[in-house]
């Protein structure tokens, strides 16, 4: 039977990636920025699974597993940083983090 062409899967991943990119660049709330980063990571994982499906072996899934681990660790650390930032500046506006200018 007909199967899904590879480029459709990859194009889906690319679309999700750019949506995440827009989110990172636009939003001023730092939690939303982190969420958009998650979207981008997820899109990357999707690309790997598509590749695994194209070749028919499991390495892509292993890569996805690693990406997942990475995302988990990153979220943990990022949220910790957000908590610190909130305690210090009493706001989640990303623009207050601009002391290192010049």
């Amino acid at each position: 039977m007909e199967s899904i062409p590879v480029e459709h899967g990859l194009i889906l991943a690319v679309i999700l990636f750019s949506i995440g990119l827009i989110g990172v660049l636009t939003r001023r709330n730092i939690v939303f920025v982190l969420m958009s980063l998650e979207i981008m990571l997820n899109a990357g994982g999707l690309a790997f699974i598509v590749a695994a499906s194209r070749w028919g072996h499991a390495e892509g899934q292993i890569m996805f597993l690693i990406i997942l681990t990475l995302a988990a660790a990153e979220v943990a650390v990022g949220l910790g940083l957000i908590l610190q930032m909130f305690r210090r500046y009493k706001t989640v506006d990303i623009n207050v983090l601009s002391e290192m200018k010049g």
């Binding site: 007909e2 199967s3 899904i4 062409p5 480029e7 459709h8 899967g9 990859l10 194009i11 889906l12 690319v14 999700l16 750019s18 949506i19 990119l21 827009i22 660049l25 636009t26 939003r27 001023r28 709330n29 939690v31 939303f32 969420m35 958009s36 998650e38 979207i39 997820n42 994982g45 999707l46 699974i49 598509v50 499906s53 194209r54 070749w55 028919g56 072996h57 499991a58 390495e59 892509g60 899934q61 292993i62 996805f64 597993l65 690693i66 681990t69 995302a71 988990a72 660790a73 990153e74 943990a76 650390v77 949220l79 910790g80 940083l81 957000i82 908590l83 610190q84 989640v92 506006d93």
Partner: protein, 161 residues
């Protein structure tokens, strides 16, 4: 199955767009969970059931819940929602959309040159675990070290004093 792929794809895209347009944080998170579950369905259609389950349980189930906890800790109220609305001016969307659009165009251009089909067989847990315990056992170790580092960092960074 193929139709399922495209339906799930459309749902994922719409949900993701909704995430970045939200003013309420919790609503945004919920849309993100929806997007992740749709991607999990896509994984299953592509023949990676293990990855699908992982996505649903770990990503949508644990990581997003972690997000929710922290947001609840931050206790952002109504005034945050108004603030968010004021921040999301239409003018702010132009440059990022332009950049992302250019990137999208380039990558689509590159991707559409590939001409191949996906293999519909399922690659089950057995194959994945065989590889994990075999050639990629170091990757597992590295992942666990990464998690340990993340654990220590998160504990230390979130301390009050």
């Amino acid at each position: 199955m193929i139709a399922l792929f495209y339906i799930a794809a459309i749902i994922a895209v719409i949900a993701t767009v909704a995430v970045i347009l939200q003013t309420n944080i919790v609503h945004g998170l919920l849309y993100l969970i929806l997007s992740l579950l749709a991607v999990a369905v896509i994984f299953y259609v592509l023949g990676a059931p293990f990855a699908a389950v992982l996505e649903a349980i770990v990503y949508a189930g644990a990581i997003m819940v972690l997000f929710l906890f922290v947001i609840m800790m931050l206790n952002l109220g109504q005034h945050t929602r108004d603030q968010e609305r004021s921040w999301l001016t239409p003018r702010g969307w132009i440059v990022p959309s332009l950049l992302a659009g250019v990137l999208l165009g380039q990558l689509v251009n590159v991707m559409s040159q590939i001409d191949h089909e996906l293999i519909p067989e399922q690659v089950g847990v057995m194959e994945v675990s065989a590889l994990l315990f075999g050639p990629y056992v170091l990757a597992v170790e590295l992942a666990s070290i990464l998690l340990l580092a993340g654990l220590v960092a998160a504990y230390h960074l979130a301390k009050t004093k």
